[in-house]
Symmetry: C2
Subunit: 427 residues, 2 copies
């Protein structure tokens, strides 16, 4: 059965996913004679770069999420449907979703990425991840509940397990999370729990590479490692996880860490949807040409993390980061306009890399920008400004700023809330 | 098995409940040679008067909740335990909780109130309530999901049921909620859902009395009824609910309203805990004397909504409102100090009623204060100021102010998020 969508004489462009790529594309089509149908399982856009702040009680969930309908309230040719996409049906030019089929003239897959456990079932079962808002809220609940449990237990072993956090993956997410945990240990949680000895709180950051932030320069890696060290984070390099049973983590370097808190930030895979031909997939991503057109189809495109733009210069595609997704969304809008105007020339995508940034902790970041490399407070200041500017919506900016100013002066955000919906309420 | 709590040579005062009464009492005991043990099933205090704002996407959940440990971080004689209290065991002077037994020298029950369905099973099954933070978040999710569903359905009957809201109970909560729903209809939701005809969105407020806000003056009731009328709220007086099956509500006045959204704000009952002697309970509350000492015990007290202070002047106790709880908490602290000082004279509680307020809608409230009665914007302004002042914590005040200023100018709060933890994550 087909989803109820107003009929339009204009061609319909269906976009799957309200991430950075999908939002940019839909915005860039605002003035065209098309019907833009955006489908997402959530009714909000998540500002993923700040998930770790929610997980460590630095920002409230609502200030990094923004309602999709709010973003497009002025856009007349825009239609939103909240649904999970189950299958692509290119033969009939429609998308199979949890609410029925949605026919399209042009389809753009912008589903982003999921956590990739590389088939490690025990990790998948026992580790928390950091990919969506409910992951972050769950991690926040877990951290806080553990300390409530730690004051109760009389078993020193259990208390140590509860107070030990192992972050797997030394990319930006893992580094940012470990740094934030270090601050919770040093400046926030001891005030909450005078009964506990916080020398016992351990934070471990594990990476298989020989340095953190491998995507950045050795200087940045060094700065991050040095800062984390000063903030009580134990960094284990050239080490991989062998097993994780919920009570301990075993590493390839022979070390075993007793812990009930393993956070997996070690890998992502494109959030592919079945239904395309074999040749259209490249591993866990969808293979496209330099115009983001999916291999083997004339009216299906993919942008962002899920898209693997295979060219001679990029045999394995572009890095799975927000700026790539946004630039691809913008360019695809232009190419779609050309197609609709029967104009044959298509622009080829190439990534304008404005730089990479990672915040390592309170007022310390590493940044490698087109105009130079920076470490420390100035880098953090740029990071904060950039992210505040990018946070969708004025209200969210204000709320985030209030929280940051507050924690700047108080070393404390007052968001340490364990909020769960009651089972009865989960539909 | 006993809960792990540091031993102290000082007498232990166990307080059940981190509501207005329990918090006030614990604060007032800050400088005494006692061990204050506060027990609550949540790790945060909820500012209940603003729950309806969370339910209608006016404030984020985090800005009306505040971590208990944060409130007391400077108080040396304070200990918090997160636990559900299951049973009182006065014979052995201890409290049975989900984490074990907690012995006490003095016990104060400050458990507040629960929703009272007066035994109507079908209402309990099919209605939402408004008593705790997860209720409010669930109601927010339900409202938003209904409109996502309404754009999908092709059945006009179903669409009407989804867009019809029935609030049962014409007290402050019901009035505030109905008013806020009226504003969502008039100024917020139509921008989100241009596909829907909002003339079809119905809001009904039902009360068994012959006027709303029975606790206030007829003038205030009239002002509220008149304002709600202007904001598309249908007020049904002298009517009670006969049945509620999830698809329709049947009223005693013969009217049947097709709806999938029934919000029950028609009654509360003391959140009593079993274990005391028969004579200690007065209906759904705990019977105390004018010093808040529980009938039949020398070291057990009750304050706030759960306490029924039976005197000649108050045969049925005091109204179940926050100011009563706070004043009782403050007075009980003094009386406990006297008892600990072997000082026999106990002060008797009498309620200083500074007035009642209810906000009916955007910039319109009714207030009856010791210095006069007010309606309209000025009353709303006082209401907003008072609640901002009372919101625990500077950060929360700032965030709430940002939201209110924002929605004042934008008629929109940007908090229309459907956020659910995934089932897997619900422990």
């Amino acid at each position: 059965m087909a989803v109820n969508i107003p009929v339009s004489s204009n061609p319909r462009i269906v976009i799957i996913g309200a991430g950075f790529g999908g939002i940019e594309l839909a915005k860039s089509l605002a003035d065209e004679n098309v019907q833009v149908v955006l489908v997402d399982k959530n009714n909000y856009h998540t500002f993923q770069p700040l998930l770790y702040q929610v997980a460590t009680a630095g920002l409230e969930p609502d200030s990094i999420a923004y309602p999709v309908r709010e973003i497009f309230r002025e856009q007349k040719n825009f239609i939103f449907r909240m649904a999970e996409v189950i299958e692509l049906k290119p033969a009939t030019n429609c998308v199979g979703t949890s609410i029925g089929d949605i026919p399209y003239d042009y389809l753009v897959v912008a589903t982003g990425a999921n956590t990739n456990f590389f088939g490690m079932k025990d990790v998948e079962k026992n580790a928390l991840c950091m990919k969506c808002l409910s992951d972050a809220v769950e991690l926040r609940n877990r951290i806080l509940e553990n300390f409530e449990q730690a004051v109760l237990t009389t078993s020193l072993e259990e208390r140590d397990r509860l107070m030990t956090f192992v972050v797997i993956g030394g990319g930006p997410t893992g580094v940012e999370l470990a740094g934030a945990l270090g601050e919770l240990k040093q400046v926030v949680l001891p005030h909450d729990h005078p009964e506990l000895d916080f020398k016992k709180m351990q934070i471990h950051l594990i990476d298989m590479e020989d340095r953190l932030l491998k995507a950045m320069s050795p200087a940045s890696s060094h700065s991050a490692e040095e800062f984390l060290g000063r903030h009580d984070v134990n960094v284990w390099l050239s080490a991989r996880v062998l097993s994780c049973d919920g009570l301990k983590v075993c590493l390839s370097n022979g070390k075993t860490i007793p812990t009930q808190n393993v956070i997996w930030a070690a890998g992502v895979a494109g959030a592919i949807i079945p239904g395309l031909g074999q040749g259209s997939y490249a591993g866990s991503r969808i293979k496209t040409d330099a115009t983001n057109k999916v291999e083997g189809y004339s009216n299906i495109f993919a942008v962002g993390d899920v898209a693997c733009v295979v060219t001679e210069k990029t045999p394995r595609g572009y890095p799975m980061v927000a700026p790539v997704a946004m630039q691809q969304g913008q360019l695809l809008a232009q190419n779609l306009k050309a197609i609709l105007a029967k104009n044959p020339d298509q622009k080829l995508f190439s990534y304008r890399n404005l730089g990479v940034m990672a915040t390592v902790g309170r007022h310390h970041a590493v940044a490698e920008l087109f105009f130079g490399n920076f470490q420390g407070f100035f880098a953090w200041f740029m990071w904060a400004g950039l992210h505040l500017m990018s946070l969708v919506g004025f209200r969210n900016k204000m709320v985030a700023m209030v929280n940051w100013i507050w924690s700047y002066f108080r070393y404390d955000s007052g968001l340490r809330l364990i909020i769960r919906l009651q089972h009865k309420n989960i539909s």
